[in-house]
Assembly symmetry: C2
Homo-oligomer: 298 residues x 2
């Protein structure tokens, strides 16, 4: 009748992840017998068997699978609630913006300036992180708002598109295509492409990269190439060149924030960011993303 206790669910999740009571108990910092009891009690309350235990192996039932998924989400939500309340509670409230190093489309300074000129602006902490970590930080309540690229998993987040950019290939200086004025995806067929950590896996093979520096280094070494939004141009290290990719799908940069957490500060910030993006779109023409570029006339 009474709702579940978070502790019980956390215990179950630990067991379900380890598939081993002793290890799970160890991880939780408790002894194994209380853990066995707690899980059994959870099963009794739900009236459902969650784990099939032989004395040798633990496996998840269908119900267990469901509770593992949903329970994790619920626990995350609870932890995020706590963190957000804590952050909202301390005076001198901050807005934490998370982006990756080359992921701001070159608009970050402008967005920050626009927001800071708002009358009710509060301080903004900018947090740079590796690829794919943004959504995690947003969901967990560490960050309030993020600038994202690509097609990350956005469940639990609200978002708005900011900027559509054409894409460029980043190549080592002595690459066979480095001299070209433009290339197509067909030209790049067979090139190694990095897997961006945290992105939805799209089956491509290649080195896994976590931040822009790594990526640039790998490209300079000739170990991979990359297709990036036009705005990445400004971040190129010395030995790299970039070439427009004519037929690459445009890359969308968006601003995202935790679902339904529209605090006044957040709302103001989102509006400031979309305003900046709108101004930039007007300045650069309605159909294009980043500033005027040679794709327009092709």
């Amino acid at each position: 009748m009474d709702g579940l206790e978070a502790r019980e669910v956390a215990y179950f999740v630990a067991v379900a992840e380890e598939l081993n009571f002793s290890r799970a108990a160890n991880r939780l910092g408790i002894a194994q017998p209380p853990l066995s009891r707690a899980v059994k009690q959870l099963e009794r309350r739900l009236g459902v068997v969650l784990l099939e235990r032989t004395s040798r192996r633990v496996t998840l039932t269908a119900a267990g699978q469901v509770l593992l998924n949903e329970g994790r989400r619920a626990l995350d939500a609870l932890a995020a609630a706590a963190r957000r309340a804590q952050r909202a509670g301390q005076q001198d409230p901050r807005l934490v913006l998370v982006t990756k190093a080359v992921g701001d489309g070159g608009m970050l300074p402008e967005i920050l300036a626009a927001y800071e000129s708002e009358p009710d602006a509060i301080k903004v902490d900018v947090l740079f992180c590796g690829f794919g970590e943004q959504t995690v930080l947003l969901r967990s309540g560490v960050a309030d708002v993020g600038l994202l690229h690509g097609r990350p998993d956005l469940t639990g987040l609200d978002f708005e598109d900011l900027l559509v950019e054409h894409q460029i290939a980043v190549l080592p200086a002595r690459h066979r295509l480095a001299g070209r004025a433009a290339v197509t995806l067909a030209d790049l067929d067979g090139e190694a492409m990095p897997r961006f950590a945290g992105m939805r896996h799209d089956g491509t093979e290649g080195p896994e990269v976590h931040d822009a520096g790594q990526l640039m280094q790998l490209i300079a070494m000739g170990r991979t190439t990359a297709i990036l939004p036009e705005s990445a141009r400004g971040y190129l290290a010395g030995d790299l060149v970039c070439v427009p990719v004519l037929d690459a799908p445009p890359s969308t940069m968006m601003i995202a924030w935790p679902e339904q957490s529209r605090s006044p500060a957040l709302a103001t910030f989102v509006r400031a960011a979309t305003d900046v993006a709108a101004r930039r779109r007007v300045r650069c023409g309605p159909d294009s993303g980043y500033d005027g570029n040679q794709l327009r006339d092709s």
Copy 2:
């Protein structure tokens, strides 16, 4: 250090909703002193003041506001996890579909037939409910999948559009516009329109309706009129007539399900539904929703 307990959060939410410890305690079925202590302990753990109490009035702090919002969501997620696990656990698994009485766009029988002809189909329970209850039932784990109309709040849900329909005005038989072959929104200006319970409030005034029967009755009584999707035609009671509304925005019917709960059965069902909708779109022409109608040539 340790994560929050669900009980504490539930207690806090009750107090925050009532803004009165005694009433909240009563609602929770406990005495007032333990509730005071629990909330205070929660505040101590978070290191944040959630409630400003004078001995006369209780108000929420900013942090309290945040925890009220986020905590409610987290508790919902926890309860939903429990219910879904329970449902997944019982043998003879069912898929619970929720729709409102006139909300299926006339496709429900066809969708059910399509799904049931799938090799791995399981039993489908169809649950009819009042306007705006679908999203609640989906989020709370009572239902697995729903057919929705209008623009309900879809946070926490994934969805796919099924069908775009033109809209018709439903009028009492002796209404001044009842004889018209078609009307525009301007014609209907000033008419009473119902407020659909659970929809986002769009400022309209009028009686609040919870189900189709109520609505039809109110229309027949001349107390209100309504703009409904074309497919509602089939559900009209005796004394009502309907007239196409030429310039009403098309109404989108969609299928929605809890975020990230793509069980195999659900995935199959969603695919069956989208297939049916796709076939219908092809049958009726690419630009329109419900079957061919006089709007095409206007």
